[in-house]
């Protein structure tokens, strides 16, 4: 069954690639203005953030999966977003922590790369996102060590929470094979929800945002993505107005 679904999916990608992969040029003369536009293949670009897997080495308590997607609206503007899942599990002599949750971040990217032909689809972009995460976390046990009075222990029950943030992005995506892209991005996130009240404890990780005890977070991504060609976008490549002849 899985094999059949996979075969159908690949067939769909190939068919859409053939259907929308044909670029064409259109020349229009209207009101003395000559406009040349080119139909460029566009679609839904879906990617995987492979940098999240590096976290397993640097921050072994984190397991993150982040999918990325964007779609071209016109010559330079893209609607873009990320969504994913995080599971955090940490244990040392001081405390044990368990948490998990999901997030979605939506926004736009604007391509600032000017010097390329209309058929080239590499982008150097700046963008912005608004992110929302829903998550829960708990401290099954903690220990406070006191050599003089004796140690004490306790636990903090599971609590659900949410967080929202604004994110600024700069990055690039390069088409290495037809419809296959590699890219990286740098991100600065600013938490917009209130800070954790004094006395409570913040989450170790807010899914999609990062450390739960910080108000702003710097992050980076490496992505590999595939564009499913679904439609064409008209890109203006030349426009000129005819000059009236002198003496008439």
């Amino acid at each position: 069954m899985m094999t059949r679904i996979f075969t159908c999916f690949i067939s769909f990608l190939l068919c859409t690639g053939l259907a929308f992969g044909q670029d064409s040029t259109e020349v229009k003369l209207k009101h003395d203005t000559l406009t040349v536009t080119q139909q460029v293949s566009a679609g839904l670009r879906i990617g995987l953030d492979i940098s999240r897997f590096a976290y397993l080495y640097f921050q072994p308590y984190r397991t993150d999966v982040t999918l990325m997607a964007d779609a071209r609206l016109n010559k330079n503007l893209y609607v873009a977003g990320e969504f994913g899942y995080n599971r955090t599990s940490h244990s040392d002599s001081n405390y044990t922590y368990k948490g998990n949750g999901a997030f979605v971040a939506l926004g736009i990217d604007y391509n600032v790369l000017k010097k390329q032909t209309s058929k080239q689809r590499n982008i150097l972009y700046v963008g912005a996102r608004y992110g929302v995460a829903l998550f829960n976390y708990e401290i099954p046990e903690y220990h406070i060590y006191d050599e003089y009075w004796g140690n004490s222990s306790g636990s903090v029950p599971k609590q659900s929470d949410n967080a929202q943030w604004i994110e600024l992005v700069v990055g690039l995506k390069a088409e290495v094979f037809r419809n296959f892209f590699l890219g990286w991005s740098l991100r600065q996130r600013f938490l917009t929800t209130k800070r954790i009240p004094e006395g409570d404890f913040p989450p170790l990780v807010i899914p999609g945002f990062g450390p739960g005890n910080k108000k702003s977070v710097f992050d980076f991504n490496y992505s590999i993505s595939y564009q499913i060609p679904l439609y064409n976008v008209k890109i203006p490549v030349f426009s000129a107005k005819a000059k009236p002849k002198k003496g008439h």
Partner: protein, 148 residues
């Protein structure tokens, strides 16, 4: 460069504890100057401190201007016996407080923070006590004055 930036963003917060987070109650010794009544710092010449139910903290410590009382994080009160001079009778001070666990940082874990409720004491050598700050969350603050 992007790789280097990536490593900066990947630091493991659970590895490092770079904060001092013992929360002791700190008291300054005060004395009204007989000539004009102005409150000034004073030094206790020969201090003995015993925490009730445990060992002696200080015996014969000289020249103390202040003292940090470690509060018992397993119960809601701690009693100390304090004697400022070998020639005077010592006093008993009982601190009553509420406790709450406080998450210091991912690297340090939890500490106990205290809110001081009342202070009960004998008046053999101590004249009075003034509470300055009821929240015992750091070692740096001065929480009360002990007047002799």
């Amino acid at each position: 460069m992007v790789m280097a930036v990536g490593f900066v963003a990947c630091d493991d917060q659970t590895e490092v504890c770079d904060q001092v987070f013992n929360a002791d109650l700190r008291a300054l010794f005060k004395y009204p100057r007989p000539t004009d009544g102005v409150i000034v710092d004073t030094t206790l010449p020969y201090v003995t401190v015993v925490a009730k139910g445990t060992d002696t903290l200080f015996k014969g410590a000289t020249g103390l201007k202040n003292l940090s009382f470690s509060l018992n994080g397993t119960v809601d009160s701690t009693t100390y016996y304090i004697k400022g001079d070998s020639t005077v009778t010592g006093d008993t001070i009982t601190f009553k407080y509420s406790r709450k666990p406080h998450f210091v940082s991912p690297g340090c874990g939890f500490a106990t923070y205290y809110t001081l409720d009342t202070v009960i004491f004998t008046r053999y050598a101590i004249d009075s006590i003034r509470i300055l700050n009821r929240e015992v969350t750091t070692n740096d603050d001065t929480h009360l004055y002990l007047f002799y």
